[in-house]
Amino acid sequence: MKYVDEYRDQVQAERLAQAIARITTRPWSIMEMCGGQTHSIVKYGIDELLPTQISLLHGPGCPVCVTPLEMVDKALQIAARPEVIFCSFGDMLRVPGSGGDLFSVKAMGGDVRIVYSPLDALKLARENPLRQVVFFAVGFETTAPANAMAVFQAHTQKIPNFTVLVSHVLVPPAIAALLDAPDNRTQGFLAAGHVCTVMGFEEYFRLADRYHVPIVVTGFEPLDILQGILLCVRQLEAGHAEVENQYARSVQREGNRPAQALMEKVFRVVSRKWRGVGEIPRSGYCLRDEFSAYDAELRFGVADYHIDEDSECISGLVLRGVKRPHECPAFGGRCTPERPLGATMVSGEGTCAAYYRYRRRQNDPRAPQS
């Protein structure tokens, strides 16, 4: 497939890894922000191609993983209502709330459906005017334009039985929160190529400058990631802290302006809780007041529900790159993708699930020393 196969070439991958090894003189810790990149790294064994001085830290960029417990509980409460058709991307269905997950609601007779696009949920609302159709609008900036469009079309096409449960989070505030943490060990970032496809990378110049970290906007195929690491290591070795764009075939500096315009129209920035991390100021979206008629929290009276997280799971430390999955005593034993204790084991893009699927061994020489 064009734009895919040519970025998976094994010989080129080895050459890029050799180029990284040639310029590396010291240990460096680089974090990839996006769960899709984590998945590629672990699946293709990219970290195993690198010199041992390079540690890849896996960041919090999996929206499924960081959706807070109380938002999952709200989804469960709404989905259990008899008048509701609850629509979600497939990977949210097994995320544990405090009393089961969306699959268990479905098993108890709830009408829970997996959709590919929020527009599919809107279509269901048109086709089922006597039911309430709710879409679980989870995601980073990549997904926000799609969800904004579903709300906007519901508004312009006057579809009264459609609402969204919004749990949108934003990447740059999370990078700042990670770098502000006293236990931070990240020295350079691979920024998420698809988030930047939508948002551009203007915002990253301020972060690179303020925290003196190189940030390389990076794609998702193995060669993209290796080139991103090469560019990042080259900056680290030279003491630079600049923003570079490895993924120029998709990402422009200003991002996708029509998408941003619609997001701006439908959403406003608010503080959000991140599962395992806590509240981060101005780190997410909610609907603007003009679109509050499409807010599932208001329609179903769950806006004031709050609950604290279980402290047993270390997913918060894993999400911040402080711990690796196999440093958790529950990893692979009491906690598996079939019976996850926490969010990073649930989603296919969660760090724990990726390690469980592709790499179950315990002794990783690149595990950070504590």
Binding site: Y3, Q12, R22, G35, T142, P145, A146, M149, Q153, R249
Partner: protein, 82 residues
Amino acid sequence: MCLAVPGKLLSITGEGESRMGQVSFGGVGKEACLAFVPEVKVGDYVLVHAGFAISVLDEAEAAQTLEYFRQIGELGDLEGKG
């Protein structure tokens, strides 16, 4: 979740927020909303996420990245021989 897949745009229908296209992903066809890529033409490659095209892939930039890989390889070969 931020998975986005490149595909070739085969046809366009509608306009504005309802502009839709048929996109081929390695031979498998699927519909995508084109509202966010007003510049797109039939034959272009788009990156599709959750039923929406979020960018038109830039062929010249893609070629430049592949050229970079090739040069890195040559550099390694030269140093290997030296």
